[in-house]
Structure formats: C-alpha cells, structure tokens
C-alpha cells in the first residue's frame, strides 16, 4: 500500500500520484496486485454513429440546396417540398428502419404511417384536380393491407417474441378500419382497396381475439393504464 505524507492517507494503488492532492506517493508498488478499478478506455466511435452523422449531414445539405435553388428561381410554386419530403422519408427509413434497434413490427408500423402521411400531402397539394385522391383511394388502404400481412407473417415466423409485436399489429388493424368509414362519407371513391384492407384487418382482429385473448387484454391494459 502506498502513502501520501501530505494528506496522511494510505492509498490502495500502483499509480504514482495521490488522487486527493496529486503529490507523488511514497512506498513500493505491489505489481502483483491489480488496480481496484479498471483503466479508462476511450469510447470507440462506431460505424453506426459515424453513419448516423453522415446521413444527417447529407440530408441537411440536400434540403438546404433544394430550398435555395427553388427560392432563387421562384415562380410561385414550392416544388422543392416534394423531393424534400422524399429525402426526409429516406432519412427516416435509414435512421428508424435500418440504424435503430427498435423492434421490427414497430419499424413497419411507423414507416407505413409516415409514408401514408407524406403521400397524402403530396396528393392533396400537388396533384391536378382531376387526378386527386389516388393516395387516399389506393395507397392508404393498400399499404395498410401490406403492413398487416407483413407483421402477421413476422408473428407467425418469430413466435417467441409475438407479445412485442402484437401491439403494433393491433395499431395497424385499427387504422385499417378507418378507410371504409371514409368510403361511407364518399371521401374515398374507389371501394375495393379499402374493403380488402378492412376484410383482412377484421380477420386478423378476430384471429387475435380467438387465439390470444389473454395476451391482447393484458397488452391493452399495460399500454393504456392511467
């Protein structure tokens, strides 16, 4: 054990200095003895963090460039918002879908929801009057349908983690019940995609209720407790 004759304390270390006053310690090192606490290892900058930074950099630079080009040659239309929306979506896919460690059902549900939102904005704001409505008529119900199928298949394959996925499946199932309602109010004019999505969602919902009644009840209780 070493000794600091300024602080008059014994120090359990092989380091040369007193941690309290930084004076050189007296006494021999016991080299056989391991330091009580491990040495500092500087953090390794991982590929993941570097990629995250690069992706953010490219996204920000391209959005600024697009805005500058659009505004310097401004003809009354903010056309740059379409590619910016697409770039942001790619950014979200890379950050949330690839680089994050969320569970896969969450990724599918969130990416589908964002995609539907972006395409609907483009539809309403940038499509000529006569063709407007494609995002609501086709994209919304069909992507919900696809998402429902995807999460269901994942649950069937990775049965061990099904509880983690159930909640997100349920969320998308609930979303799928919305398009048929919009059909009733004539907001959606093409019925079959909405009805197909509704049919599948209804089937899945019944399946969940029949096969996982306890899990789903518990899951809802957990997620919504006040």
């Amino acid at each position: 054990m070493k000794y600091c004759d300024k602080c008059h304390v014994e120090v359990r270390t092989n380091q040369p200095y007193c941690p309290l006053c930084h004076q050189v310690l007296k006494g021999e090192s016991e080299l056989a003895r391991m330091e009580v606490y491990p040495e500092y290892v500087p953090p390794i900058r991982t590929v993941r963090t570097l990629t995250k930074k690069a992706v953010l950099f490219v996204t920000v630079v391209s959005i600024i460039t697009l805005l500058i080009v659009n505004l310097t040659d401004f003809d009354g239309r903010l056309w740059s918002l379409i590619p910016i929306g697409a770039i942001l979506y790619v950014f979200v896919i890379i950050r949330l879908g690839i680089l994050s460690r969320h569970n896969i059902a969450f990724k599918l549900a969130i990416l589908t929801t964002i995609l539907i939102a972006i395409l609907n904005v483009i539809d309403q704001e940038y499509t000529a009057e006569a063709y407007r409505g494609w995002a609501l008529d086709y994209v919304t119900p069909l992507s919900l349908l696809a998402c429902n199928i995807a999460i269901s298949v994942i649950i069937l394959i990775k049965r061990i983690n099904y509880r983690d996925y159930l909640f997100y499946l349920l969320t998308i199932v609930v979303f799928s019940l919305v398009p048929p309602v919009l059909c009733l109010f004539d907001v959606i004019r093409i019925d079959w995609p909405s009805l197909a999505a509704f049919g599948l969602a209804g089937g899945i919902l019944l399946g969940i209720i029949f096969f996982f009644p306890k899990s789903i009840k518990a899951e809802i209780k957990k997620r919504f407790h006040l």
């Binding site: 602080c7 270390t13 491990p38 500092y40 460690r101 919504f224």
Partner: protein, 434 residues
C-alpha cells in the same frame, strides 16, 4: 401477480411513484443510476457469479423486467431474455443502455474481488438493490460450496415472492389531506471543470466504523448528522469562505439526505420507498464554525424526520402523480412537463446528495467471505459531487463520485479525519490520469 404464482410472460408492474419520473428525466449525463459494491475476500469466479444471478432472478420476478412505453405511463414488463454478468469497466454509474443489456434495468459487474451492482432508480432504491445483491452473494457462496445459511436475512428460493414486495408503499401511507407544497430556494452549486466524455470520478475512503461512531457521539450527533454538517462545512471552507459577499454565494448550501422509509413505516417493499431530509444554510459570514452548522443540521433533521413531515413530502409526490390532468396527458407530452418540473424542483434545489445506507448486515456464516461494502450515486451537471456511505463490520466506507476534475472537497474532507488521528485508506478510479 397472485401470491406464489410462477412469474410468466403476462406479468407486468406499474412504476412506483418515485420511479415514474426517472425515465423522463434521465440522460447520458443525468443517469439516475447508483452502485452497490461488495468486495469479497477472494477473487470472484464469473461463471459461478452468472449462475448465482440467474438463480437470484428466479426469486425476484420484479427485477426480471424491462421498461416499456405505454400511452400514458411507462411500465415494467416481464423480460424473457437472458441476463449476462460483465467485467467491470471504468464507467461509474453510467447510463444503462436498454438495447445492449437485453433491456434489463440493472447490471452486475465483476473484477478481481469485486461484485458490483448498478441499478437504474426506476427499478428500486438502495433497499431493493441491497436485497438483490445479498441474494446474489448468498447464491454465489452456496454454489462455491461454502456453508452459508440465510438466517431469514436473505430472500432465497425457499420463499416465494409476495405481493408486499411489489407494493408501492408510497400509495399505502400517503395522506390526501397533508400534501402542502413548500417552496424552496435554489441551492448553491459546486462548479468545476467537467471530466471529459462525461466520465465520473470515484474516490472512496475507508475508516473504522467504531471511530466514526465515537466521533459523532462526542458531538451528541448521529453519524448522518455529523457527516452532513461536515460536508456543509467543507463546502464552506473550500468554495465560499472569504468570498461570502459574492452574489452567487448568497444561495444556501443544501444537502439532500435520502431517508429509508422502511425504517419509519412498516413495509417490506423492494421498490422505491425513500424520502429525504435536507439541511441547508446560507454561508454569508466569515466566522461560521463546524459546531454551529452541526447544531443547525440537528434541528433541521429533527424537524424533517417527524412522521408528519415525512408523510407530507410523500403525499406531495403522490398527489402530483394522481393529478387528473397529468394522468390523461399522453406520455410523450408528459415527459416535457416532468423534465422541467424536476430541474426546477429537484436538481437545482440541492448542492449535493448524501446517502447513508448505514450498517449492512449479513448472516454470520457469510461474513468471513466479505471484506467491505460500499455505495455510490451518479453525479451530473448540477449536482457535481455526491456521496454514499455504508458500513460492514469495522469498515466504514465513504464514496465520493464527481463529474468535475477538482478534488478539493474530497481532500479537505478526508484530511478532517486524518488531522484527528483517524486512519484513512483511499481508493480512486483515477479518471483524471487518463
């Protein structure tokens, strides 16, 4: 979960009153983790330790969980993934990344003779953490073939988890009529040079428990009162004296001292059941003495430890949690309210926290295998220094953690003992050397 039922994938637990706030306010720097460390008399075998932890977790379903988010509140959900013990790193009370720890809210580290438990405060307080590590050490020694007995001091697989252990005792003892909010002044904060990479420096000193108790008794004070007053006095000496007229130094030096409520109310909970007392004093004179601070501290402790006062503080938190508007606000919005509230009402109101876990008891048969026990609490941006103490037999360990490079407070603190002829042994993680 019903009494005695085997834990299953459908088990989940609400966060207790204190635990609800931590997920919202914790960051890389304000980690809200704490450490319980046991030094054995022989090197720790990591394979036996792993088996011991697996065995212990069977007895503690409430720790075999991970944090999940709900619409209004987070909750603890049964975690079916395996738990792995790890070699100790230089990090002290760092953030527990749920993604590279299979979602567990605690870690078990080993190094030479050390077994270290680091826990996120949402899971439990020092009481729950000590229960867990005692079971782990008991299982470990049993696996190693040592003849140890639990003597009803340790929870083993011979008993089943009870509902009482999961209970949020705050809800049991709070009083809806007594939840007045007392407005507090902001505290004096210890400033310094932040340690690089957000690392935490650790310095602990070991002194004789008997000498520590004798020293406090000489001043007709408890050990907690004595050390609280000493910390205030050292802050005064090193940070304020001869500069007491400065505007910044008009703020009171305030020490936050957690109180284990299991000692004041009958409760067997393993979850958070702690409250606090505070001692505070404006240090704006040049002639403040230690004895003067100690008298003031004793008065403030006597007041703060009255059952009425403890219940008031508990009820203040519970009534906040039970607020209808807060409850129906979705969690992602609630988070911001909690963060602002905590910074204003929590962090900035304390100079530092001092947790005295007191005497740590083990069954007599286990004592020969244990050398010492210590506790440490994370330090962050505002509370740059925190102190944890505990005693095992004649080793009283005082552990300072700090987020700043300066060690003036530690130096003067330990010199206070050596000047009285009390022998001090220092350990450090030497974070400043690298």
């Amino acid at each position: 979960m019903a009494h005695g039922k085997v834990p299953s994938a459908n088990d989940w637990f609400r966060l207790d009153n204190a635990a609800k706030i931590f997920p919202a306010i914790s960051t890389e720097r304000e980690t809200n983790t704490f450490r319980v460390q046991i030094e054995m008399t022989e090197d720790v075998d990591k394979d036996f330790l792993q088996l011991a932890v697996d065995a212990a977790l069977e007895r503690y379903p409430m720790f075999k969980v991970r944090l999940k988010s709900g619409l209004f509140w987070n909750y603890l959900d049964y975690n079916q993934r395996p738990f792995t013990v790890r070699p100790l790193t230089h990090k002290v009370c760092g953030p527990l990344d749920p993604r590279d720890n299979n979602g567990y809210l605690f870690q078990i580290y080993y190094r030479a003779r050390l077994i270290v438990l680091e826990m996120f405060h949402s899971l439990a307080d020092g009481g729950g953490a000590f229960a867990l590590i005692k079971t782990i050490v008991y299982e470990y020694l049993t696996l190693k073939g040592c003849r140890v007995t639990p003597d009803n001091m340790i929870l083993t697989r011979d008993s089943l988890p009870t509902k009482e252990e999961y209970e949020d005792s705050n809800l049991t003892y709070y009083d809806p009529q007594n939840h007045r909010h007392v407005k507090e002044e902001r505290a004096f904060l210890v400033k310094g040079t932040p340690i690089e990479d957000g690392n935490i420096g650790l310095i602990s000193g070991t002194i004789s428990t008997a000498e520590m108790i004798a020293l406090a008794r000489n001043h007709q004070a408890s050990v907690t009162e004595y050390l609280t007053a000493l910390l205030m006095y050292i802050i005064y000496l090193t940070q304020i004296k001869y500069r007491e007229h400065l505007k910044e130094n008009q703020k009171p030096v305030k020490i936050f001292v957690p109180v284990n409520l299991r000692k004041h109310f009958p409760s067997n909970t393993l979850r958070n059941f702690a409250n606090f007392v505070k001692s505070g004093m404006v240090m704006n004179r040049a002639d403040i003495t230690f004895d003067e601070i100690l008298e003031e501290t004793k008065k403030q402790f006597a007041f703060g430890l009255q059952p009425k006062e403890l219940i008031r503080k508990m009820s203040e938190n519970v009534s906040f949690e039970k607020n209808f508007f807060l409850r129906i606000t979705p969690y992602f919005l609630k988070k911001f309210a909690l963060r602002i509230g905590y910074k204003k009402m929590g962090l900035l109101l304390n100079t530092l926290s001092f947790s005295n876990l007191g005497k740590i008891d083990f069954p007599e048969s286990m004592e020969p295998y244990i050398d010492n026990v210590s506790v440490a609490v994370y330090s962050g941006r505002f509370n740059t220094i925190n102190i944890g103490t505990s005693s095992f037999r004649d080793k009283f360990r005082i552990t300072f953690t700090r987020s700043i490079v300066e060690t003036t407070i530690e130096r003067e603190f330990f010199r206070h003992f050596t000047e009285k002829g009390i022998h001090v042994t220092i350990e450090s993680n030497y974070v400043e050397e690298y």
